[in-house]
Symmetry: C2
Subunit: 266 residues, 2 copies
Amino acid sequence: MPREITAFSNPLVKRVRDLRDKRHRRAARQFLAEGLRILTEARETGRIPRLLFYAGQSAGHPLVHALSVEVEAAGGESIQTTPDILSKLSGKDNPQAVVGVFDEFDVGLGDLERDRSGIWLVAERLRDPGNLGTILRTGDAVGAGGLILIGESVDPFSVEAVRASMGALFTVPVVHTDWQSFLDWLRQGPGQLVGLSLDTDQDYRAARYAAPTFLLTGNEAQGMPADYAAACDLLVKIPMLGKADSLNAAVATAVMAYEVIAQQRG
Amino acid sequence: MPREITAFSNPLVKRVRDLRDKRHRRAARQFLAEGLRILTEARETGRIPRLLFYAGQSAGHPLVHALSVEVEAAGGESIQTTPDILSKLSGKDNPQAVVGVFDEFDVGLGDLERDRSGIWLVAERLRDPGNLGTILRTGDAVGAGGLILIGESVDPFSVEAVRASMGALFTVPVVHTDWQSFLDWLRQGPGQLVGLSLDTDQDYRAARYAAPTFLLTGNEAQGMPADYAAACDLLVKIPMLGKADSLNAAVATAVMAYEVIAQQRG
């Protein structure tokens, strides 16, 4: 039977709310995901939350009920609570109907099967959690094999990244590694490393991509280091016709990724 | 001579900080923009802030100095202040070197010259300020004639939208109007209205676009209303190969916009 929590002072509420903070996530190896859409997406990939919080008025919702039953069947706990506590957990004034606490999942380079897809996304020192989530969402849409994060990147399990991913965190494998480990792994098999750069005349539409294509996007403010660019098999640029000569990193990744899959799909 | 403000309690600090709030922006018809990059972009398009705040340690920076001189020459006021007050104004822990207060600018449909560009962006009921700013930034990159916002859309002068636009708010005209006024204006001249939709089999890469193309993106959660879709000359879809069947609105707009300009540039 679902437990009920209505007191802000409940220690579980505090512990779960603390998962909004990276330090606490690291210690607990757990993270928060909100919303029926994202939790349903998670469930379809076999990820069931350890804890499920839902507002009393959502108890009759068939998806909430189904989730709740599955959480309990999997040994987790389903907790009926108040909209105010959901707000506190999610940090939003208008909270979603459900908040789930999931175990973090750890994917290494060795877990990736490069034959799985003709396109892989690689981002180095990504700073903005919204960009990370949006890139994951695009990764899902283009059928990317995964997202490989290089160096000091923002945490994919942050609330903002999970939210922006719209559930793609559960469908697109994310690996966090360093540049040398990535290169070593990459060169053990087929793979064209394509870097997005402003310092080339090669238009991204005129270039030809070979599967599997590994699409490398650099840091939002600085782009990628020169030695990363030098290690690429191909550097391409997206034309910019305006005054600013810059695109959002998630946008640039998506424009590139759709060109790659358009070519690969013929 | 620049004035100096070091007291949080200074009424000007409160008034400027209030511009982070939409209600106060509406009343004052002014907005905030932060950062040397964005303010320099603004200056290059002839937009000089009414008020310029900069931290004392930035006073020697040549761009800050140049801005400061121009602000005073234009009858505005340049104010030296502390990093803490800049933080308070911008709402960020690590504030930019400068914060400017600009008069809002008002562009109407009648001000747009449709021959100015082969591509125009149209978004209806856009909810997320980050998406709006990112779409403006993309608009700058593809050389769009402008962004036309339809219906209840987020405020382009919000701090988050200005920030995400990276200065494109100053380079890309933004018009806010209603659907019927837009349609009436559109049909007074040439223009292909292309709607992004999930309810069509027409692949966006196989479609042919006629300049000027008006690219319509619907609300983030709901897409566009059926009668908007019916008014389009062409509906196209971006293929989605993953589980979620959705893309971020700014990403979808960019993927479309780059296809349109690729065709138009031959």
